[in-house]
Each structure stands twice: as structure tokens, then as C-alpha cells.
């Protein structure tokens, strides 16, 4: 069964790049640009992994994460957080992110991280 990744990212170009990478890797990717839509998607179509941008318009990434962790259905959902700012790591871990990456990242880095979080064996590269 195809594993499902939910990508929450407001920058359209970054979203497109990540979607291309993960789709090429055989994953199903759904995308939301802001918090309310993202949470709805989490509960309606539970993903196997959530990639969450930190700086979002409206609800911030941390707020979305807190909401996800507060709900029993999504409490254990693995979350990979992306940020463009240096000092967000601690806050992200406190809020319950499983993994944290700073932009810009290499494609290989994010693919390896996603696979490891989905319990897939690391491929070469």
C-alpha cells in the first residue's frame, strides 16, 4: 500500500519541489497551504507522515502541531518540521516534532529523513 505524506507549506515553489521528490519516490502526497485545511485533511484522510513548515500565514506551524498532538487520532503521527529560521529547533521539539530540518536542505537529506521516518530502508544516494 502506498504511504501517504501530508505536506503543509505556503511557498508554492517549495511545495512543488517536495511534492515532485516524494511522488518520484513512490509516495502519495497531499498538500495544504494553511492550518485549517491542513487539520481537516489530517483527520479526514490520516497521513503516515506530516511535513510541516514553521512559518505559515494565519495559524503557525507550532499551533498546527499542538492541535495535532492534542487529538487522540493524530497524537502519534510522525511530524517533520521545516524552518527557515535558526532558533526554532527547541520550540519545535518541545511542541512534539519528531524531526526538524532547516531550509535550504538537499533533496537527498529530506528523502532520507522521510524514508527513515516511514520505516523504509535507506536507499543509496
Amino acid at each position: 500500500m502506498t504511504q501517504h505524506v501530508l505536506l503543509i507549506e505556503d511557498e508554492p515553489n517549495i511545495a512543488e519541489a517536495i511534492r515532485f521528490l516524494l511522488t518520484r519516490d513512490g509516495l502519495r502526497v497531499s498538500h495544504a497551504a494553511e492550518g485549517a485545511a491542513a487539520l481537516q485533511m489530517v483527520w479526514q484522510d490520516p497521513p503516515d507522515l506530516m511535513i510541516l513548515d514553521h512559518m505559515l500565514p494565519g495559524m503557525s506551524g507550532l499551533e498546527i502541531l499542538t492541535a495535532v498532538r492534542a487529538d487522540p487520532k493524530s497524537r502519534d503521527l510522525p511530524v517533520l518540521m521545516l524552518t527557515a529560521r535558526g532558533r526554532d529547533r527547541e520550540m519545535a521539539q518541545e511542541a512534539g516534532a519528531d524531526c526538524f530540518m532547516t531550509k535550504p536542505f538537499s533533496n537527498a537529506e529530506i528523502l532520507a529523513e522521510v524514508r527513515s521516518m516511514l520505516g523504509q530502508p535507506r536507499r543509496g544516494g
Partner: protein, 894 residues
């Protein structure tokens, strides 16, 4: 008798008085007064109570109103016999505290308030002026009697001219002997002796004419008594109210009349003299009144109907051909008038110069107090004041025409000065009397007296209109001057007396009860009220009777007024006492000592308290001096406190600056963090897609698309770096402006074209008014256009209307041009309007347009450097920005 002889004897008499005064002054200067310092002279000088009003007027009074004239003698008699202790207290206070006048007494008692001194002076001058006029009138009348009796009727006498000469002569005499030098106690031995001589002359004259009338005309005592019995005026028509009022009035006047105060208190040489005067003066008054009724009765019988009874003493001997006796009487009357005028004008001049002229002079010439010539200034002021007083008296005489009956004016004047009585008696017997109380009482008394007595004395239609008399002030019938509050049954003088004194006393008491005396006032009050205990004060402490008032006075000097008062009030409250003075219990003394030791040190505080309690023989004044020194220490410590406060302020300013720096540092961190985000975001896209492209194996359209994205994001990065550079240059103020004339319309055209790159997909309707844009501006056209581009781009980015529209409105006024950019979108929420000009203050998803949130911050900096401004215009339908720019920007120096 030839008129010239009369004038000559007048002049001789005056010359004689000059000589007496001169000789006495010389002896006084050598310190050899001898018998001149006797109680006899003192008693005789008191006789200035009997002015021309009593000398001539008493007979007239008796002829008109029977025995009522006696009330004018009863009052002083009662005071001198019954209220001897009051006079003694006044004299003691006057001697002990160098009181120079009644105004000085009141002003010293109530905390040396010059305002009170001025008011008392005012009352005295107002009341004395008609009284002085009365004396002038009596002299003129008596001259007139002689002139008309002269057989040849030689010179028609001009009364006005006579009055002028009399006034000038009196002013001359008074100035000569009243202001020869300055005495700390304002004593004038020469004048007092001259007045004593005049007192003898008027008594001898009156007794002589009385004897002549009884034995020379009527034919003996028995006949006179028979005539009196037959006459109406002997009937004792005693109206209790009026008599009580008049006796009270004359009793009050003998204490409060400025001239009486002068001779009784100021000129007093020896307190013992008062004891003699207390029986001798009533005796003098008795002698003066002895023949009044016989003269009146015989005069009414002998003289033709319609002749002025005020002049009977003079006209009777003249009619009987007794020229020499008439001359003596004339000199007696002349003495009465002149002695009164001289002493009154000296007393008034002292008040006017001390309370009005000198304070004014010192205020106008600050620093003059230290000058040596103050003495001569005071003397000049004194002389000027005497001239003013006499001029006022003459003026009043001239204006009033000298018509009113003599007695009426005298009573009005008595009532006027009696207004000082409550403040005076309250001041020396009641320690609770306060300055405010005295002020209220005096003013109330002055107003009521003026309204009910003084102004009506001019007659209806003169000072007060007829309507006021009949219908009251403002038509209020209860405000009729002679029937206040509907009291119609009293005669005018009793009425005025009752209301003025009642309201005066009421205001005085209420004012005193509801205000606190200041420290000086309380000290003076205690000193005046306890004047007889002053010398034994220290011993009293030894008996353990601590005066809480003295404690309070001392505590106030050390702790400050408010603090000490509240400390005492608290203590009194804890003792369950009313008011602000606690009982000096040992507990309270301990508390006070602890409190004082905080300011002056424990040893001093203990010493002060124990001295006040009476273990050492120090006077209260000594303690006050110590307390004053402490006050200086306190002042020094206040200065230290001020410096400490300044240090605290400096520390506060430093803390503030530090906070500001911290704030700035935080802002810098936030800014860097924001920059990092803005740089990393396009970098992420570029890196991801360039790696994807490197991976290869892509359809050509994807390669095209991803290449495009990389290009766009690279451009975004460049733009961001440009903006940052721009902003830093602008913020540093190191921007080079390229000034020149440019068409506003051209700039807007350029901006609209350039902004079309932003979201070229949207079709914007731009509304302009081209004629209004036909303005040439002297500015940096590129920079201004940059601002326009930014604002138009923002509209294109953020206006969310279905049919977006942008209005550009140009106005020109007062050398400035405003350009408004108004779109038809939702606008900017109110709470965000103040944020939008901050760096990175993007409000919504900016990625659609690729802005970095620096645009408006840059606009603001540009407009500042162009001498203009950009601001959000609230209250429009959509988002609206106003750019204000000067029509002609001049290059600034540096």
C-alpha cells in the same frame, strides 16, 4: 469783636501750643520729662475723646434728644471703670510688643498679616474722614458765628476758604511735631502735652460758659433746675434698646478709635497711669457734661427760634455781650477740633505709611530695605499720609457742604471703627481666633456698616438711590439698608449697630472655628492672650503645666507644619480628645520626643522637651531660636535629599537608555532572523529544483518550468538584497538625492507602467484626474516614482475586489502636494494600520507577489528624505495611502 482779633488770638493760641510742644520735645530729647510724664498729662490727653462734636454738639444733642447725649459719656466711663483690666491688657500688649497702631495690633496678633493691617487702616480712614470733616466744619461754623456777630459785618466770610486754611494749618502743625523724628514706639511727647493743655482749655471754657449761664443768666442753681424741670428735654425718655446700643457704641469707640488707641496705648508711658486715668478720666467726662443740659435749656429759652443749638455755647455769651467769654469758648472748641485732628491724623498716618505706603514702596523697589535712607522714606511717607488724611477730611467737608447735623456723623464714625472690636477683643482673649476669622469679620462688618450706615448717611439719592431705600438692593425688600431682613422697628443707628456687629461677630467666630491658625499666628495669639503670664512662663513649665500649643509650635518648626499638625491630631484622637491639641501626658511627650529625635537628634529632642516641661529656665523664644537652627539643618538635609533625587533620576534615565538598547538589540535579532527566513525561502526552491534538474530524466516542459522557477526565485533574492541595501542606505541618511524638476503626471505614468509587472494577470481600472496632475515638482523623481510603484504594486497585490480599481487623487496646497492612492478592496484592519510601515510587516500571504515586506518601510524612509511623508488614510472604502511631498525641495546643508 473784630474778626481780625479773632484770627490773631487764634494764631497766638496756636503759637502758644507750638511753644509748649517744642519745649516738651526738647526736654524729652534730653531725657528730662519729669512731671510731664505724670498720670495727669495722660488722663488729659485721653480727653481727645471729647472732640468738637461733644464740645459744641453735646448741647445741640441735648436740645434735640434730651438726655440721650449722656450715652456718649456713659460708654467710656463704663470701660474705664468696669473694663479697666481690658485696657490694662491692651496697654501691656502695646508696650510689650511695640504696637504702633490699632492696625498694627490686629495685624501682629493674626500672624503679622499685612492684609489685615490694610483692612483696618481702610476702615479707620473711611470712618475718620467724615469725623475730621466734622471738626473742620465746627471751626468754620464758630468762625461764622463771630463773623455774623461782628457789628460792622466787615468781611463776608468764605467758609470754604476758612476750612482750607484750617486744614493746611493743622497739617503743618501735625507734620512739624508728629514727624520730627522716628520713635520705635511712635511716641510724641510734645504733641501729647499740647493736647493736655488743650484739654484744660476746653474744660475751662465749658465750665466757664456753664457757670455764666447758671449764675450769670439764669440766676442760680435752683432757677436752672426749675427751668430744666419745666423743659421737655429733661424727661427721661429712655428707649432701652437705643440707649444700650449707644452706650455699647461709645464704649467700643473709646477702645477702637485710632486716636484713642494712639493716646491710650501707644503714647502710654507707664502702665500705672492707667490706674489713675480709670477714675480721673470719667471725672473729666462728668465735668464736661455737667453744664450741657443747663446750657441747652437756657439756650432754647433765650435764643431766637431756628438758631443752631450746636452753637449755643458760643452764641449765648455773644448774645449776652460777653466777648471775652465767647473768645474763651471759641478757643475751647478750636482746641477740641485741633487736638482731635492732630492725633487722628498722626494715628492714621502711622497706619497708612506702615501698612500701605512702605510695603508698596518696598515692593516697587526691591533691595531698598537694606538702604540707609529708609528712615527718611518712612518720614516722607508719614508726612504725605498726614497731608492725605487732612485732604480727605477737607474733601469730605467740601463735598458734603457741611450741612448734616454734627452728632449724626459722629455716631456713624463710631460704628465704623467699632467693626474692629470683635477682631481686637477676640485676638487678645481667645486663642482660637484666626486670621481668616478676623478677615471675614472685618470685611463683613465693613460691608454691612457701609451699606446700612455710612452710605445712607449721605441721604437718600446721594450714595444710594431712593429706590434702594424704599425697595431694597436689587428690589429685594429684605435688603433695605435701614431695614435689613425686615427689622423695621429699630432706629437707623441701632439697626446698623445690631446687624453690622452681629454679622461681624458671626463671621469672625465661624471663620475662626473652621480654620487652623498658622504657627506664627498661634505664637502671637498665645503671646497676646497670655501677655500677663509672659514673664512667669518658664516657671509655669516647672509646675508641670506644659502648653500643648507651645509644643505644637516647636514641633511645627522642626517637623514642618502639616506633619506636626497631623501628628498632634493623631495623638489627640488616640486620647479621645476633640481638636488638634492632645493633653501633654508622659506617653505623648515620649512619643513627641521620639518623633523629634528623628529630625534633631535624641539629645536635642530630649533637651527641648525637658526644657518645655520646665526643668530649665529658658524662654519660649530661646527654644524657637533653637528650632529655627534645626530648620536650617533640615533645609540642608532637604538639599541632600534633592541631590539624591537627582541621582535617582539619572539612574532612571540610564535604566531607560539600557532598556532602549536592549529593545533595539531584540529588534536587531528579530530583523536578522526575518532576513534569514526571507533569504532561505527562495534559496530552498532554487536548491531543490537545481538538484532535480541535475538528476536529469525529465520531460522537456518540466525542465523549462523548473528553470523558470529557479530564475524567478533568483530574481526574488536579488530584489530582496536590493531592498535591504536601499533601506540601509536610506536609514543611515547617507542617500544622495538627485534633485530636479519633474512632472508629477510623468512620474505617475512611469509608476503605473512599472507596476503592471506585478500580477500582470489582473486587470486594474485606474481612475485619474490628469489636469490636477499637471504639476512640476522639484524633487528626486526616481525616488518618488519608486514610492509610487510600491504603492501601486501593493494595490495590485492585495486589493481583493472582484473588479479592482485604483483612484489616484492629487491636491496641492500651501507649497505641498498630496497624492492619494485609494483602491476598492477590504482595506487594512485598524489595529494593523500602525504596523504596516515596519520592516517585514507583511500582513497576508506575500508569496503570491514575492514581496519581502520591506516595501512600505522603504517608502517611509524615501519620503522622509524627500521632506515629505507617506501615511495610511483611514476611513476610505479600501486601502488608501497618502503621499505628501513639498512642491520645491531645497537641498539641505550637510
Amino acid at each position: 469783636m473784630p474778626f481780625n482779633l479773632l484770627v490773631l488770638s487764634c494764631l497766638l493760641y496756636v503759637a502758644f501750643l507750638f511753644a509748649v510742644a517744642f519745649l516738651v520735645e526738647r526736654r524729652a530729647a534730653r531725657g528730662r520729662l519729669g512731671w510731664l510724664r505724670s498720670p495727669l498729662v495722660y488722663t488729659l490727653s485721653l480727653s481727645i475723646y471729647c472732640t468738637a462734636w461733644t464740645f459744641y454738639g453735646a448741647v445741640g444733642y441735648a436740645a434735640r434728644s434730651g438726655l440721650e447725649f449722656l450715652t456718649i459719656y456713659f460708654g467710656p466711663t463704663l470701660v474705664f471703670i468696669g473694663w479697666w483690666w481690658l485696657l490694662r491688657k491692651l496697654v501691656r500688649i502695646g508696650r510689650q510688643y511695640h504696637v504702633t497702631s490699632i492696625a498694627d495690633l490686629i495685624s501682629s496678633r493674626y500672624g503679622k498679616s499685612n492684609l489685615l493691617g490694610v483692612i483696618v487702616t481702610l476702615i479707620a480712614v473711611i470712618a475718620a474722614t467724615p469725623y475730621i470733616a466734622l471738626q473742620l466744619q465746627s471751626v468754620v461754623l464758630s468762625f461764622g458765628v463771630f463773623a455774623s456777630a461782628a457789628p460792622d459785618g466787615s468781611r463776608p466770610l468764605d467758609p470754604g476758604q476758612t476750612a482750607v486754611w484750617v486744614a493746611v494749618g493743622l497739617a503743618f502743625f501735625t507734620i512739624l511735631f508728629g514727624t520730627r523724628n522716628l520713635d520705635a514706639r511712635e511716641q510724641h511727647h510734645g504733641i501729647v502735652t499740647a493736647i493736655a493743655v488743650e484739654a484744660v482749655v476746653k474744660l475751662v471754657a465749658l465750665l466757664a460758659v456753664g457757670s455764666f449761664v447758671v449764675w450769670g443768666i439764669a440766676g442760680g442753681v435752683a432757677e436752672v433746675i426749675a427751668k430744666i424741670d419745666a423743659a421737655d428735654l429733661s424727661a427721661w425718655q429712655v428707649e432701652p434698646g437705643r440707649w444700650t446700643g449707644l452706650i455699647f457704641l461709645s464704649a467700643a469707640a473709646v477702645i477702637t478709635l485710632p486716636r484713642m488707641f494712639q493716646v491710650m496705648v501707644v503714647e502710654n508711658e507707664d502702665e500705672g497711669h492707667l490706674a489713675r486715668a480709670s477714675w480721673a478720666f470719667p471725672l473729666y467726662l462728668l465735668a464736661m457734661s455737667l453744664f450741657i443740659v443747663p446750657i441747652a435749656v437756657v439756650g432754647l429759652e433765650r435764643m431766637p427760634a431756628g438758631s443752631n443749638p450746636d452753637m449755643f455755647v458760643l452764641t449765648l455769651p455773644l448774645a449776652e455781650g460777653q466777648g471775652a467769654l465767647a473768645m474763651l469758648v471759641f478757643l475751647g472748641g478750636f482746641s477740641s477740633a485741633t487736638s482731635m485732628v492732630i492725633v487722628e491724623s498722626i494715628a492714621l498716618a502711622t497706619m497708612i505709611s506702615n501698612h500701605v505706603m512702605i510695603p508698596l514702596w518696598l515692593r516697587l523697589r526691591p533691595g531698598a530695605a537694606a538702604a540707609d535712607d529708609l528712615r527718611s522714606v518712612v518720614l516722607m511717607a508719614r508726612r504725605l499720609a498726614i497731608a492725605i488724611v487732612l485732604a480727605l477730611g477737607y474733601g469730605y467737608y467740601h463735598v458734603s457742604g457741611g450741612s448734616a447735623a454734627l452728632a449724626a456723623i459722629g455716631l456713624v464714625a463710631f460704628l465704623g471703627v467699632a467693626q474692629v472690636l470683635p477682631a481686637m477683643l477676640g485676638g487678645i482673649f481667645w486663642r482660637g481666633a484666626t486670621r481668616t476669622g478676623a478677615l471675614l469679620g472685618l470685611l463683613t462688618g465693613l460691608v454691612v456698616w457701609a451699606y446700612t450706615s455710612f452710605l445712607p448717611s449721605f441721604g437718600p439719592g446721594a450714595a444710594l438711590s431712593e429706590a434702594v431705600f424704599t425697595q431694597g438692593l436689587f428690589g429685594l425688600s429684605w435688603l433695605r439698608p435701614q431695614a435689613l431682613f425686615g427689622t423695621q422697628t429699630m432706629d437707623p443707628i441701632t439697626h446698623a449697630l445690631f446687624w453690622s456687629m452681629a454679622l461681624n461677630v458671626l463671621a469672625f467666630c465661624l471663620g475662626s472655628l473652621f480654620t487652623f491658625p498658622g504657627p506664627v499666628e498661634r505664637l502671637q495669639g498665645a503671646a497676646f492672650v497670655n501677655v500677663f503670664e509672659g514673664s512667669v512662663g518658664p516657671q509655669r513649665w516647672a509646675r508641670g503645666q506644659v502648653d500643648p500649643e507651645a509644643l505644637l509650635g516647636m514641633a511645627q518648626r522642626i517637623l514642618g507644619e502639616e506633619t506636626a499638625l497631623s501628628f498632634f491630631q493623631d495623638a489627640a484622637r488616640s486620647q479621645g480628645k476633640e481638636g488638634f491639641l492632645p493633653d501633654p501626658t508622659p506617653t505623648f511627650l515620649d512619643q513627641l520626643e521620639t518623633r523629634l529625635s528623628g529630625s534633631v537628634g535624641a539629645a536635642t529632642a530630649h533637651a527641648m522637651i525637658s526644657q518645655l516641661v520646665g526643668r530649665a529656665t529658658v524662654t519660649v523664644e530661646d527654644l524657637m531660636a533653637v528650632a529655627s537652627e534645626s530648620a536650617q539643618l533640615l533645609e540642608y538635609s532637604t538639599q541632600l535629599e534633592a541631590r539624591e533625587a537627582e541621582l535617582t533620576r539619572t539612574a532612571g534615565a540610564l535604566r531607560e537608555a539600557n532598556e532602549k538598547l536592549t529593545q533595539l538589540s531584540l529588534q536587531k535579532d528579530a530583523f536578522l532572523s526575518q532576513i534569514s527566513h526571507e533569504l532561505r525561502t527562495p534559496m530552498t526552491s532554487i536548491r531543490a529544483f537545481s538538484e532535480i534538474l541535475t538528476d536529469g530524466d525529465l520531460p522537456p516542459e518540466a525542465v523549462m518550468r523548473y528553470g523558470r522557477i529557479i530564475h524567478d526565485e533568483a530574481k526574488r533574492l536579488t530584489r530582496l538584497l536590493d531592498n535591504l541595501l536601499d533601506l540601509s542606505v536610506l536609514e543611515n541618511g547617507s542617500v544622495q538625492l538627485n534633485l530636479g524638476l519633474a512632472s508629477l503626471q510623468g512620474m505617475i505614468d512611469t509608476a503605473l507602467t512599472a507596476a503592471r509587472q506585478t500580477r500582470p494577470d489582473r486587470d486594474f481600472l485606474v481612475v485619474r484626474d490628469l489636469p490636477s496632475e499637471a504639476i512640476y515638482l522639484k524633487t528626486d523623481a526616481d525616488r518618488l516614482t519608486q514610492v509610487f510603484i510600491n504603492l501601486i504594486s501593493n494595490a495590485r497585490k492585495y486589493c481583493d475586489a472582484a473588479r479592482p480599481e485604483l483612484r489616484i487623487v492629487v491636491r496641492q496646497r500651501a507649497g505641498r502636494v498630496t497624492v492619494d492612492f485609494i483602491d476598492n478592496g477590504k482595506g487594512i484592519p485598524k489595529d494593523s494600520q500602525s504596523l504596516i510601515f515596519e520592516k517585514f510587516a507583511r500582513l497576508t500571504d506575500a508569496n503570491r507577489a514575492g514581496g519581502a515586506g520591506l516595501g512600505l518601510a522603504i517608502c517611509r524612509e524615501i519620503m522622509t528624505s524627500l521632506g515629505g511623508a507617506v501615511a495610511y488614510l483611514p476611513g476610505q472604502k479600501g486601502a488608501a495611502f497618502r503621499v505628501t511631498v513639498p512642491l520645491r525641495l531645497e537641498r539641505q546643508a550637510a
